[in-house]
């Protein structure tokens, strides 16, 4: 009975079929952004396989050599094929932000829903705890974490997730409060649905459009911050290929007149970040329009 009623009550919630048409509603810029993200994802999954040359094989006699023959982007400071390193480096460059987004969104959403549901003391404790976290800029927390646990993607990603959590929680808490005051929630409570069921099966699914939009924007932030950490030498460790690492290890080429290796890694980061920003912005507008 309650299941039947709940499907009726929750009918206006987001269903899977809407996610594709949702993408279509983001306009040309949104579609192009989605295509860029799809390309970067393919590179992240299959990059090491489709790389035309070995991304880790140095050949010092080819150092800083420009584009020739099959080497479209030339060679880096150690004579490694730049295109192959870009493709292989997509993995660590995309995987880190993905982990940050998943961690911070999950923790932030749970905190937001709990404080919107319990209100009162729980809300006060969570909100003031998050206010204190606001005192730590993401990059600073990540540097602190790598100083303590050693350089690497794991420590930096966990630290960034913690630093992003209050931003997620603040946005989602407002939405959760609005959802909490909807009549269907009261109806479910009267029918005896448990708080966990209502939150997991109804409130969170109804906030999904906003969660996806927030996650998309956050991916861009995380990509910039993690690439910065790797650029500083505290993230992915060379010789492993990574876009942030490639900029820092080829930075000397800028001064010596061989800017292509560092620039091409920079272009990859900027293209993916622009794509996530534009798509995220469009999804936000859509999520807000759907709520009205």
């Amino acid at each position: 009975m309650s299941a039947q009623v709940s499907t009726i009550v929750a009918a206006p919630s987001t269903r899977r079929s809407r996610s594709l048409s949702g993408l279509r509603g983001t306009g040309v810029a949104g579609m192009v952004s989605a295509a860029v993200i799809a390309l970067a994802t393919i590179a992240a999954i299959f990059g090491p396989l489709i790389a035309p040359y070995n991304p880790d094989l140095p050949n010092l006699s080819l150092a800083w050599v420009g584009p020739v023959g099959g080497h479209l982007l030339g060679f880096d400071f150690q004579g490694r094929d730049v295109l192959s390193r870009l493709l292989a480096g997509a993995q660590s460059s995309m995987l880190g932000p993905l982990a940050v987004v998943l961690l911070s969104m999950t923790a932030g959403a749970v905190l937001a829903v709990v404080s919107a549901w319990r209100r009162g003391a729980a809300d006060a404790v969570i909100s003031s705890g998050l206010d204190i976290l606001f005192a730590f800029p993401g990059i600073l927390l990540a540097v602190l974490a790598t100083a303590i646990f050693g350089a690497g993607l794991t420590a930096a990603s966990i630290a960034l997730s913690i630093a992003y959590m209050p931003y997620v929680a603040r946005v989602l808490r407002g939405a959760a409060l609005r959802e909490r005051s909807q009549p269907y929630v009261a109806a479910l409570e009267v029918q005896g649905s448990s708080a966990t069921t209502i939150c997991l099966r109804h409130i969170i699914p109804n906030m999904l459009a906003l969660i996806v939009a927030q996650a998309t924007i956050m991916f861009g932030w995380a990509m910039v911050d993690l690439a910065a950490i790797s650029f500083l030498g505290l993230g992915v460790q060379p010789p492993a290929p990574n876009w942030g690492v490639m900029i820092s290890e080829n930075q000397t080429g800028i001064l010596q007149g061989y800017p292509l290796p560092a620039l091409s890694a920079g272009v990859c980061i900027v293209a993916v970040v622009i794509a996530f920003n534009i798509l995220g912005e469009r999804l936000f507008v859509q999520a807000q329009a759907a709520r009205r």
């Binding site: 650029f231 500083l232 001064l255 920003n277």
Partner: protein, 305 residues
């Protein structure tokens, strides 16, 4: 509230380093084995045998007296090391803030008041530059303005004030780049929103001159979201400065923090983190004070919504 969050932030910084894997004595001795007597001397000097909270208390009271411990790498007072670098970072952040306030808000106002080509091109340009990370901006600026054109030096600090301005120009632009775009976009949006509101339309129909209309009716109301975004982005520069300082080999706090993190010089990491977090919290508080000045409805102690 300010003191409470600083206190808790200092506790987090101390506790994080306290919990760090590794033995404090071997960190102090640089990994060498020490005779038992020197171990006892070190334990007494750094209060290593006392409970955690007591150690935190010693560290905090010392920090408040300006004593942040000794760098195990450079064998110097952390406070001295910080003092010699703080003006590089402060100057860089200040320079970038001026750029953001002048050009970010300026671009946003012009684009917001003049719909059409100028507005559209501002939107496109800022959408791209908002996504350019500081270190990418850094390499592009070095490539264009020091390698190709030779207008500015690529690396390092200057010696006199004028040469410092010259040395800091590219780093400040790199630091301001994406923040400036974000501030311009928010300024444009809030100017546009304000100028479409009824009271502005009424003022237009009453024949109030444009200059006065913009100053008294549009800017005054749009100032609040503009202050918010400018405050948030300028505060965030304090941390991002580490990236720019490293890219331009500037001798600032952030670049030193990164070196200290690499070499596990934990007293330096603690000290600089404390200074940067304090600066971050203080800037955020100044923005709150500014709200109260800008908006008579906001009283101090309650946040503007």
């Amino acid at each position: 509230m300010l003191l409470a969050s600083l206190l808790i932030a200092s506790f987090v910084i101390f506790a994080a380093v306290y919990l760090a894997p590794g033995n404090a004595i071997s960190a102090l001795s640089g990994g060498r084995a020490l005779p038992a007597s020197s171990v006892r001397v070190l334990e007494a000097r750094y209060h290593l045998n006392e409970p955690f909270l007591a150690q935190y208390w010693y560290w905090l009271t010392n920090a408040l007296h300006g004593n942040l411990g000794i760098s195990i790498i450079l064998r110097e007072n952390v406070s001295t090391l910080i003092a010699s670098r703080i003006w590089t970072t402060a100057g860089l952040v200040l320079y970038a803030s001026v750029l953001i306030l002048l050009f970010g808000i300026g671009m946003g106002i012009v684009a917001g008041l003049r719909p059409g080509f100028l507005d559209t091109s501002t939107l496109v340009v800022t959408a791209i530059s908002a996504a350019i990370p500081s270190f990418v901006a850094a390499i592009v600026l070095i490539l264009l303005f020091s390698v190709k054109l030779g207008w500015f030096p690529a690396l390092g600090n200057g010696t006199t004030f004028l040469s410092n301005v010259q040395h800091f120009t590219l780093p400040a632009v790199a630091l301001a780049f994406s923040a400036l775009a974000i501030v311009a976009r928010v300024t444009r949006a809030s100017i546009r929103e304000e100028s479409e509101r009824e009271h502005v339309q009424t003022a237009v129909s009453r024949g109030i001159p444009a200059r006065q209309l913009i100053r008294r009716h549009i800017l005054r109301n749009a100032a609040i979201p503009i202050t918010t975004i400018a405050g948030i982005t300028i505060a965030s520069l304090i941390a991002v400065a580490a990236v720019v300082e490293t890219a331009f080999s500037l001798n600032g706090l952030g670049a030193y923090l990164v070196q200290a993190a690499e070499s596990k010089d934990l007293a330096v990491v603690q000290g600089i983190s404390l200074v940067l977090v304090t600066a971050f919290v203080v800037v955020n508080m100044l923005v709150d004070v500014l709200y109260a000045l800008l908006d008579p409805r906001v009283s101090l102690g309650s946040r503007a919504q």
